[in-house]
């Protein structure tokens, strides 16, 4: 019997695209989109982790009350001079953005970004509890401030040291290749190993830093339990840990700059530091932006360093947002409030992602 061949049914390009995309879309939806909305849903409930685990009906819809409980307080007032340092800084920033935009020395996008940031710095620190008033959650805003301080120190620290390292290692010799690998190696360590190494480094008894201080006749600092140094210690460990990726990105950016340009610069009397300032840096602008934004997003999620090295202490000086979310959710079982904080963190990081996206599209 003859079996006439059916004409092979062919997919249109669109159909094929959907079929090929389906596994990704499914996974993406299941593990990212759904949990995100679920998290937001939880943040609108009074949701005790243990109670709901045993009885799914033990939750109660409370609307935005979790957000209020976390971020607001009783008798909260706004004063123009509640935090004079920050507010004056904000006014100065606003003035600078207007001035630089007026003289065309700043692109419109940058001027707006600086302006918005300045306005936030003027407004946000102005809120404070009035007489008889208090924050509902006294630890939340100090924790946010700690996180911002951490990011504010770690990001420039990583960016500048990675940039200098990359510039120094941007040569095609075997030694440089070995050094690059060496510097990148810290990146592959897990946070437990990194914090262990640095706990030993910072130890006032047998630590390397203490030994060096003693050699020069100083008294060793008790880094991890001193309120003034605990944050610095965490930042230093973080810089050491996350240098690698930034350095690799900078190396890639540096290799994009043609050698001819440096030769032209040498003839134009720009060598060494001046070549770096006038030729290298401007050509690395996009890479710097990328690194900074990636680092901001990454370091807002700091958890391990604080949790393992200082346990948030001393006196909450190294308590950071993710650790606070973790404690609220899994130690105190207040899943609803923890989710509200997580949404707050998401908004911050989302903002920086949008900035990264816009800057990435801007023409140089």
């Amino acid at each position: 019997m003859q079996n006439p061949r059916k004409p092979a049914s062919r997919l249109s390009q669109t159909q094929a695209a959907w079929i090929l995309l389906a596994p990704f879309l499914f996974t993406y939806g299941l593990f990212l989109i759904y949990p995100f909305f679920r998290g937001f849903w939880i943040s609108l409930h009074d949701w005790n982790l243990l109670a709901v685990a045993f009885n799914p009906d033990a939750k109660q819809f409370v609307g935005l009350r979790n957000y209020e409980r976390v971020m607001w307080g009783r008798n909260i007032e706004w004063g123009p001079l509640a935090a004079p340092f920050w507010q004056l800084l904000g006014i100065a920033g606003l003035a600078v953005s207007v001035l630089l935009r007026g003289t065309k020395r700043l692109s419109r996008f940058n001027a707006i970004a600086l302006g918005v940031a300045s306005v936030l710095v003027i407004i946000l620190p102005g809120f404070h509890p009035g007489e008889e008033g208090r924050w509902y959650d006294r630890r939340f805003w100090p924790t946010v401030a700690n996180t911002i301080v951490f990011v504010g120190l770690a990001v420039p620290g990583v960016t500048i040291s990675a940039l200098l390292l990359a510039a120094a290692l941007n040569r095609e010799t075997r030694a440089m290749g070995a050094l690059r690998t060496l510097f990148f190696l810290s990146q592959v360590l897990s946070v437990t190993v990194v914090t262990l190494i640095w706990q030993i480094m910072f130890s006032p008894r047998q630590g390397l830093i203490a030994n060096i201080t003693e050699t020069f006749g100083g008294t060793p600092i008790n880094w991890l339990t001193d309120e003034q140094f605990a944050m610095a210690a965490i930042v230093i460990a973080t810089i050491w840990w996350s240098l690698g990726i930034a350095m690799i990105l900078f190396l890639a950016g540096l290799q994009d700059i043609s050698k001819d340009i440096y030769e032209a610069a040498a003839l134009d009397n720009a060598k060494g530091a001046r070549a770096f300032w006038y030729v290298t840096l401007p050509n690395l602008k996009r890479t710097v932006t990328l690194v900074v934004v990636l680092q901001i997003i990454l370091h807002f999620q700091v958890f391990g360093q604080s949790h393992l090295m200082t346990q948030g202490g001393p006196n909450d000086t190294t308590q950071v947002l993710v650790r606070y979310i973790y404690q609220t959710g899994f130690r105190d079982s207040e899943l609803g409030r923890a989710s509200a904080m997580a949404v707050f963190l998401f908004v911050i990081m989302g903002t920086f992602s949008v900035i990264q996206f816009i800057v990435g599209r801007e023409k140089t």
């Binding site: 043609s258 030769e263 610069a265 040498a266 003839l267 134009d268 401007p282 050509n283 140089t364």
Partner: protein, 352 residues
């Protein structure tokens, strides 16, 4: 303004020597072209003058100054790169003024010098653009402008036209010639294109494997080459070469199926020589049958006929006028014996 003197200049990379003791005198205001096949060391030699490559041995003088160990920025040279090497983040104006800015010149002076250079190069409309928004020819002009603004003693051009399309190349070539006339500074120009060399140069330096083959004015090199390499390199299409053997006062040339009597002092009987004849120095005679026409290229005013001799040697000759040969024709050559060049087969030196 000042000339350039190279004194037994040598360049080695580790054990590999690429420049073998070059002596050269470039006069003040002269347009000197380094020409040669790729890898002959012409770019290296220029970069040594610029100070971008270290000189292993020997001395380089610019004017009366010994600059052999002087920093590139202090040598009083400006360079135009093949890739233009413009600073991509700076506008045309900033690109041109950068050198002066780095040397601490006042802003007004920079402004007037940039304005002057952009007038010479017709760049006025582009001063606020970035290099990415310019065409290849405009970029090249900016690169030249950057050199002019610095007011150097010596201009260095490193294959400046090879990234441009053919039409623009001719245009820029004329412009560079005009520029040299207008500024009158010493210029060194590296190219592998012998047309550029012939049209621009006051003096051509032909290089091969890091050695100078011959130095001279363009037409002197064309008319009176010292050796087979220069004879073959200068002139387009290249000179034809065929093997020959000395027979008394004549040379037996198998490819020509006979003997020729060049007007030179021939070496001893039986010596192997090479006979050269330029494509433009002979006429094809359709009544002969010494050569077979393999292929013709008609360019309009002139055609090139590719001939094969019975010995298998191939030759190219030029044809003008109405009657031109076709593939498959058989021809012989008519030429004046004084047009023949004879070279020693072994040393390839010219026999005069």
């Amino acid at each position: 303004m000042s000339g350039v003197t190279l004194n037994n200049v040598i360049k080695r990379y580790g054990d590999v020597q690429v420049i073998h003791g070059i002596d050269l005198q470039i006069e003040d205001g002269e347009f000197c072209v380094f020409v040669g096949p790729s890898g002959c060391g012409k770019s290296t030699l220029m970069r040594m003058v610029a100070g971008l490559e270290e000189t292993t041995e020997g001395e380089i003088h610019i004017g009366s100054r010994d600059v052999t160990r002087v920093d590139p920025a202090q040598r009083g040279v400006a360079m135009v790169f093949q890739t233009y090497a413009l600073y991509p983040h700076m506008t045309v104006k900033e690109n041109m003024g950068f050198g002066l800015k780095m040397n601490g010149h006042p802003r007004d002076e920079i402004k007037s010098k940039v304005a002057e250079a952009s007038r010479i190069l017709k760049l006025d409309d582009y001063l606020d653009r970035k290099p990415a928004a310019l065409s290849g020819g405009q970029r090249q002009r900016v690169a030249i402008g950057r050199a002019i603004v610095r007011g150097p003693d010596v201009f260095l051009f490193d294959e400046p036209l090879s990234n441009l399309d053919a039409e623009l190349r001719v245009e820029m070539r004329v412009e560079i010639a005009r520029l040299h006339k207008e500024i009158g500074a010493t210029m060194i120009y590296v190219t592998h294109d012998q047309v550029e060399a012939m049209t621009l140069a006051d003096k051509i330096v032909v290089l091969k494997f890091g050695r100078i083959e011959q130095v001279g004015a363009p037409l002197d090199l064309y008319r009176d080459p010292d050796n087979k390499f220069v004879a073959g390199f200068i002139g387009s299409p290249a000179m034809n070469f065929v093997r020959g053997t000395v027979r008394g006062v004549a040379v037996e040339v198998p490819a020509f199926a006979g003997t020729v009597r060049p007007d030179v002092a021939l070496p001893a009987e039986g010596m192997e020589v090479i006979v050269g004849l330029r494509p433009e120095h002979a006429e094809l005679d359709p009544s002969g049958d010494t050569f077979r026409v393999e292929l013709t290229e008609a360019l309009g005013g002139v055609s090139y006929a590719y001939l094969t001799a019975k010995t298998g040697e191939t030759l190219i000759f030029e044809e003008r006028g109405d009657r031109r040969s076709r593939p498959g024709d058989t021809v012989s050559l008519n030429y004046e014996p004084r047009r023949l060049y004879v070279f020693d087969a072994e040393s390839e030196r010219r026999i005069r």
